[in-house]
């Protein structure tokens, strides 16, 4: 029960401090799950996120469910997800009741603009870290750059990129021994 409550508390914090899409949760996940508790490696988090991106549902929820399941099975998955959505339920309910023009307040806009800069800085750190962990050769460099450019400029669906890069990986490693693939 203690572990389940801890899962709930961790994802409650993550839910309470994710500003933006699912990617914005990654810096906190790395801190809480990888660095502090060693429940998963950086690489595993990337894998869960990739799967969460390609499966139905909200990416943040998918990633939370995955980590919760890995840690404590089905009940762990449920506790992690409940933790993740609780801050939203509380905050949005309060806003919906009392502040119908929440985003019109100057103080909210200033705070949010400040937070956005932090999110950008944290994402830059996360991407650098992910790059170091996952790019091993020129194929990795190309996949990184192509996926960045194609999504940032052509605005293609990330799912297509993930499927293509999986195919590239399978072809590249065709003749390698399973133990060599890292």
């Amino acid at each position: 029960m203690k572990d389940l409550l801890e899962l709930f508390a961790i994802f409650f914090r993550i839910g309470g401090f994710t500003f933006g899409g699912g990617y914005a949760m990654l810096p906190i996940i790395q801190e809480e799950i990888v660095h502090k508790r060693h429940w998963a490696t950086d690489k595993e988090i990337i894998d869960y996120y990739a799967i969460g991106q390609c499966t139905p549902g909200i990416i943040a929820v998918n990633t939370a469910t995955f980590i919760g399941y890995k840690q404590k099975g089905i009940i762990g998955a449920i506790f992690a997800t409940l933790g993740l959505v609780c801050p939203s339920l509380i905050i949005i309910t309060i806003i919906a009741r009392f502040f119908n023009h929440f985003q019109d307040y100057a103080i909210v806009q200033h705070a949010f603009s400040g937070i956005q800069i932090i999110v950008i800085a944290l994402i830059i750190n996360t991407v650098i870290n992910m790059y170091k962990q996952s790019v091993k050769d020129w194929i990795g460099i190309s996949l990184f750059l192509i996926s960045f450019l194609v999504i940032a400029i052509l605005k293609l669906s990330p799912i297509i990129i993930i499927i293509i890069s999986a195919a590239v990986g399978i072809i590249k490693c065709k003749d390698m021994d399973t133990k060599e693939i890292k």
Partner: protein, 187 residues
Amino acid sequence: MIYFKLYLVFFKIGLFSVGGGLATLPFLQEIVDKYGWITSEELLNMIAISESTPGPIGINTATFVGHNTAGILGGIIATFGLVTPSIIIIIIIAHYFSKFSEEKIVKSAFYGIRPAVAGLIGAAGFQVAKISLFNMEKFNIRKNIIHIFNIKRLILLGIILYISNKYKKHPIVYLISGAIIGIIFKF
């Protein structure tokens, strides 16, 4: 029975929207057109608020729409509807993933996927940076190159990048500092 309907509608959204919170938008529009629980204008307002409040955007929007349709319980039920398909599908995948993650085909697929995911998260960050750090409107009016950049914000970004790499504090510490700095310096 409004609660049951809410649950089903958001269950469907959770089941069919692949690729993040914004993928739910076409389905949310359907709520306006088909059920008339909220107006188009209300929906836009809810999305704007959901983007600037803590929590995943998709969850925030579901809570909001549910709440304004059927009160506090409505918000909870809509959110539970949205996450149910995720929980079921991911539990099944996670179960098999742990079994097959050492298989050669899975390992080699992720060998390709990981660099691409790093790139796509970089792209997501770039989209936010583009809006937040650059000021194309002002540049178009004044035609002065200096106006493209939002200097105040770029300075903060530089400082945070430096500090966060040096001291490695919990990300939440920086997020709270960002909110306070934003308010004090009127970002």
